[in-house]
Symmetry: C2
Subunit: 427 residues, 2 copies
Amino acid sequence: MNIERLTGELSIRRQLADGTATQLEAVKQIIQQVKIEGDAALMHFAKKWDRAELSSLRVTKEEIEEAAGRFDPRLLGDLTEAANNIRSYHEGQKQQGYRHDREDGSYVAQRVTAIESAGLYVPGGTAAYPSSVLMNVIPAQVAGVERIVVISPPDSEGKLSDGVLVAAHILGIEELYKSGGAQAIAALAYGTESIEPVDKITGPGNIFVALAKREVNGDVAIDMIAGPSEIAIIADESAYADEIAADLLSQAEHDPLASAVLLTESLEMAEQVQAQVAKQLKTLPRADIATASIRDHGMIYVADTRAELIRAANQLAPEHLEIMTSDAERLSEEIRHAGAIFIGRYSSEPVGDYFAGTNHVLPTNSTARFSSALSVYDFVKRTSIVHYSEQAWRNNQEKIARLARLEGLEAHARAVESRAWKKENQS
Amino acid sequence: MNIERLTGELSIRRQLADGTATQLEAVKQIIQQVKIEGDAALMHFAKKWDRAELSSLRVTKEEIEEAAGRFDPRLLGDLTEAANNIRSYHEGQKQQGYRHDREDGSYVAQRVTAIESAGLYVPGGTAAYPSSVLMNVIPAQVAGVERIVVISPPDSEGKLSDGVLVAAHILGIEELYKSGGAQAIAALAYGTESIEPVDKITGPGNIFVALAKREVNGDVAIDMIAGPSEIAIIADESAYADEIAADLLSQAEHDPLASAVLLTESLEMAEQVQAQVAKQLKTLPRADIATASIRDHGMIYVADTRAELIRAANQLAPEHLEIMTSDAERLSEEIRHAGAIFIGRYSSEPVGDYFAGTNHVLPTNSTARFSSALSVYDFVKRTSIVHYSEQAWRNNQEKIARLARLEGLEAHARAVESRAWKKENQS
């Protein structure tokens, strides 16, 4: 892990999931095939890519109950407690409508309603993350989404992972399907015989899933398309190098493209962390991934002043920012751009990834400058309401007609004036 | 305007601004050229497409004051009153952060901050809409965006329209630039010598603007890319056919692709509106546009029951929905999907387009199923905060490590456990 002096602006490499032209073409064809052939296409692709012979796409009640029955009860308890924490945090995001009444009898209002249906894509194989089920489903439930569907690729025996089934079970989700990749996204977007389409698709996935989500975007809503995961840590000499290193590595084990950055004023701390990272790396099961990540996207910056650290953190706008300084809470108030901030020694990032209650679906690639964690807000929409009384119309119709004519929109002016047509005849 | 019996599901045609491959290629090249040549490219394109010889890109204070000086004072008053109404409505959208404290000394919180900078694209020429300036700038101001920039193509004399300048002036916007099309979007996204880049770009535009916004999306945030405008009206026999027709035509004059739909149980009303539309069309200055719109995208549906009307309205999920029935307010509660609802006879759509205070940037193409009007929410972002106390860590670290190992993420487990490494040695 390299150590560099922090001077001036950081150069930030964006890592976007653009895919190749060939991949995009394949995704487009898959979507077409699902649109035309429906279930048959999903079965076909399950056989081709998941090596699964499926007799039906929907997960049965028995499959869910069997998974729950053989699941480690301690883990069941852990997932349940995590779910409760996540639900509690997200309750704070419930949006209220409002209404402004005016003396002339008119009002304007905003009505908040949940979207009707949402589909969560859950990757299969080694990346079957029950925590993703909690993080995507719970905000939708808190929003009041009536129909929530989970879709995930089956293993070669035609099953979904126990962890995913149990997480869904804990949340009361009963509509799960076996399909992966672009075909699953197409099924959620356009429907098949077995699968009713949904209004919004969320959840992580590989490049084919990402490309398919981009393709269907607009026909349905999608969540953000996340880039590789990122952590930045601001630490002073009150922190412990081995803990900082462990936290950096927890990010690095995700993906060779994941990035882990330490920002510190202390060269001594920098060197200690460098040594700790090298040491701890050796014993990690996913050492190959973490090594590549640290080598290509790991960096320790040493700054002369606290202000430079803060500027660099804001410039990075990292997905995750840990602050391990003696004044962590105060320092956090100077951070303007970060997906999530973890304050103090005991707030290691996995605390938030799994358990504390905040959402682990967070903006990457510096997009925390303008975007936010997945939330209840992503599963509601707002309708504006305008009610004008006769009095309000009478007071304002001339102004409205003038503004319309200023823009050359005569029919707009006449629409407002038309309410006088009969009145003028009457009076 | 055709009359049809409403039977079963409506077939909804989506109209997306996809552009041609040639247009997309042109847009990509323009963006590249702006990235490389900066201001010079903007000057070059202004000469090429706007026939404007610009000596500088920024609008001067004098230009703004001159425009304000010669502007009709009544219109200035109208715009100011509209701006006040819009500001008042959007104040209801200010988001608060929150913090949940737990007994173990831990807390989770959500912090809401404004994005730093936003750029509004305003089309030029015949479509120079001061109201768009109000509708895009005010939500950003209420959100607390520090830097708000307006960019718009100059006329052949190198000027922006008085209406746009005055609307900006009323709002206290001082940073305006003269550039249009894809090059203006590129300048906002990547910056030039004269123009600092922004974090979010909003505002309507032609196909080149739409394609450029899609291209830069991700590097900066963009608002939705709107399709042609839409109105649906639910009316019973308490309504007046001439007023309904006038409202339908106010939508139709926007664009040959705009759609105007009447939903009613009354065949008599249907026929009266049909006749009124034909009659009123003749005298409209933009009759050619409105005629094409009504012919290709206008429709009157007659249903047997109120329930069918409501179902059709929800299925359309129209950008604008007017309800002109004797029980309009009650009926509006059964509408689940609409960008904006206009309740009662005096709430003609232009009331909301210009004046009432709600935003006129609304979801089209049935996307009101899952998206919403432009709002203050579009100009803020939320940062999650996690603080774990030593006690909270002690109580939960085993659970968190177990959940991490369930997902095969050993380094995550060790990160949480690392806080015990020294403690174990100490005790």
